[in-house]
């Protein structure tokens, strides 16, 4: 098992190298002179020259790249022009907000999509099967920011059930003392049930938006792989041996059908991390996505670069975790490795 994990981890290294090269090249592709750009619009030619020497832009490209890698190794992602803060610090303080939202969104969609897919597969061409198909097709066609706005209109404006879409907490509450950075968990640790409810209320709509968005691929994959497994020999044998249909579906078919679904999670994460940016903008969520969008509009490139790098590293790590999880669930993969 350990060798398998190590082997898989080694396979992630070329991806990481590629990510670092691309994020480096993106800064070099900035229109105009990067030194003038980083010095700000009001800089004198002298100041620009200083910035150029300071950033090492007068050196050859290879040396600049070496410097970039060394900086990364020290956790230096540069400073934001607008706030003057180191990018790494800001990303670190904002990351829990994004992570909490994304993970809850994923949880919502798994809780809905997996049972839906299973039910659809066990009753082909039934009403629930058609419902599953409609949900899957609509889910991929709905722009995620549009879903978010519709939910806001219905649940905030029309029904008044949800709070205003303005961040992680109502202004009347103070955030819980930071342990994990996840308000839901931290408020429980601090034993403040009202705070837990308040942050949950803020989270529900954005998480539901992300959930609806990622529902489609999971439901579709669950249905397809459940159908394939249900028609296999071992399920027929299990049925013939007189096991109840619940045992057959849950313990025999479900476990095997989950393997392709877990593989799809990699793709789902690619979409989720992107959609996260849009959802954060709709709900004024103080995560790393809205940080990057603000920086983008202010033409402040260092935070954008840091954001793209962070997202890509997280995505590579998530894919690694998914593969390891796959090995844990399916012993056959371990044997092959």
């Amino acid at each position: 098992m350990l060798t398998m994990i190590l082997k898989r981890a080694a396979m992630a290294i070329p991806s990481l190298i590629g990510v670092v090269i691309v994020t480096f090249l993106l800064t070099r592709a900035l229109p105009g002179d990067p030194a003038a750009y980083f010095a700000g619009p009001a800089a004198t030619p002298q100041a620009i020259q200083e910035v150029r020497v300071k950033l090492g832009l007068d050196k050859p490209l290879i040396e600049q790249f070496g410097r970039y890698v060394v900086d990364l190794g020290h956790g230096n992602l540069g400073n934001s022009l607008t706030t003057g803060q180191p990018v790494l610090t800001e990303l670190r303080t904002r990351l829990p907000a994004s992570a909490e939202l994304t993970l809850l969104g994923l949880l919502v969609s798994i809780v809905i999509a997996v049972p839906l897919g299973i039910l659809a597969a066990t009753r082909p061409n039934s009403l629930i099967d058609h419902a599953c198909r409609v949900v899957a097709t609509l889910g991929v066609s709905l722009p995620v920011f549009f879903t978010g706005l519709i939910l806001v209109y219905v649940f905030y404006y029309l029904l008044g059930w949800a709070p205003a879409p303005l961040g992680r907490l109502d202004v009347f509450f103070d955030p819980p003392p930071q342990v994990t950075g996840f308000y839901l968990i931290d408020s429980l640790i601090a034993r403040q049930p009202e705070l837990f409810m308040a942050s949950l209320k803020q989270l529900i709509l954005p998480a539901l938006t992300l959930g609806i968005f990622s529902l489609a691929p999971i439901a579709r994959m669950t249905r397809a792989s459940m159908l394939a497994v249900l028609s296999s020999d071992f399920v027929r044998t299990a049925r013939a041996s007189g096991l109840s249909s619940f045992t057959v579906i849950v313990t025999y078919a479900f476990r095997n059908a989950m393997l392709p679904v877990i593989t799809t999670l990699g793709m789902v994460f690619s979409f989720l991390l992107g959609a996260n940016v849009l959802v954060e903008k709709v709900f004024a969520w103080p995560g790393i996505g809205s940080y990057a969008v603000e920086a983008l509009l202010a033409s402040d490139f260092a935070p954008v670069q840091g954001f793209v790098l962070t997202m890509a590293v997280m995505y590579v790590a998530l894919n690694l975790m998914i593969d390891v999880l796959y090995g844990l669930i399916d012993p056959r993969v371990r044997l092959e490795a």
Binding site: F146, L149, I150, G274, L278, V293, Q305, Y315
Partner: protein, 294 residues
């Protein structure tokens, strides 16, 4: 089917294709519906500016923020522009972005993939490495980074959307070219003295082409969503240009105070367009490759 009893005639390629298409449409009327929608979208894209009732840029402050009515079917926005006219006129730009980016990735990804699958070796390794590197990023995030770095223009939105779709096309084209590399007709062409490039152009490409076309219609929906997402966060298209993503962004602020029509109609247009492309893509796939039907 009255001609079953008659002696089977050899049909021309076009007639057979037509018959086959009619058969598929009969099986799945949804594809026919999607095709009708597609025609409507194309008409709106081509004729849009000349058929709308109002100038999409003309503001009329006396008519600001009016809900949908007989005069303004989709209502008016905060400075009194007609939302219906703006939604229809926007079709051209959104459609153009989607078509251009898909055509671009078709060229880049399709050619690179076919070359990788046919030549193998270093070509294959380089194309594969590029595709893997792109795949290491969450796609929308990479598109954001590219547009931010290259500059905030519509051309760069097209380019970024094409780049993030590159791995998909390259992989499909590679796989399809690879299985045909040793095929009989390729061997025959080689033995009759054709050069590699000639075989690639006249034997391999025409065979991979239909599969990539299906992929194009399947990714059109994604391309529109991607471009609209980018303009929603303020990249690419600038106001007051009518474009669905930016219109939803402009209307978003009014959603919390109940003026829903500003963001709803452009969002709905976006959804209908994506829905149409996805259905059409599924239908086309059924026509080209019946095995993958679900």
């Amino acid at each position: 089917m009255t001609d079953i009893a008659a002696t089977p005639r050899r049909e021309g390629g076009l007639a057979a294709l037509f018959r086959h298409s009619r058969y598929i449409l009969g099986e799945n009327p949804v594809t026919g519906f999607a095709f009708a929608l597609f025609v409507l979208i194309v008409i709106a894209a081509v004729l849009g500016p000349s058929i709308v009732p109002y100038d999409p840029l003309a503001s009329d402050t006396t008519q600001a923020m009016k809900p949908p009515s007989a005069h303004h079917w989709f209502g008016t926005d905060q400075i009194g522009r007609d939302v219906f006219s703006r939604v229809i006129v926007a079709t051209r730009l959104d459609f153009f972005i989607a078509v251009a980016s898909v055509a671009l990735v078709f060229l880049m990804g399709g050619l690179a993939g076919v070359a990788a699958g046919f030549f193998g070796g270093w070509t294959d390794r380089i194309v594969g490495r590029i595709a893997d590197t792109i795949m290491a990023f969450p796609l929308f995030v990479l598109a954001m980074g590219i547009v931010a770095a290259l500059g905030n223009t519509v051309q760069n939105i097209v380019l970024a959307t094409a780049i993030v779709n590159f791995p998909l096309y390259a992989r499909i084209a590679r796989a399809e070219a690879n299985v045909r590399r040793e095929a009989g007709f390729v061997e025959a062409a080689r033995l009759s003295g054709n050069s590699d490039w000639r075989i690639l152009a006249f034997q391999i490409l025409p065979n991979v082409f239909p599969i990539l076309v299906v992929q194009m219609s399947l990714t059109m929906g994604y391309a529109i969503l991607n471009a609209a997402g980018l303009s929603f966060i303020g990249l690419g298209v600038r106001p007051p240009t009518p474009e669905w993503g930016i219109m939803v962004a402009e209307g978003a602020a009014f959603m919390v105070s109940g003026e829903w029509w500003n963001a709803f109609f452009p969002g709905l247009a976006l959804m209908v367009a994506v829905f149409c492309f996805n259905l059409l893509g599924d239908g086309l796939r059924d026509m080209v490759d019946p095995r993958r039907r679900t």
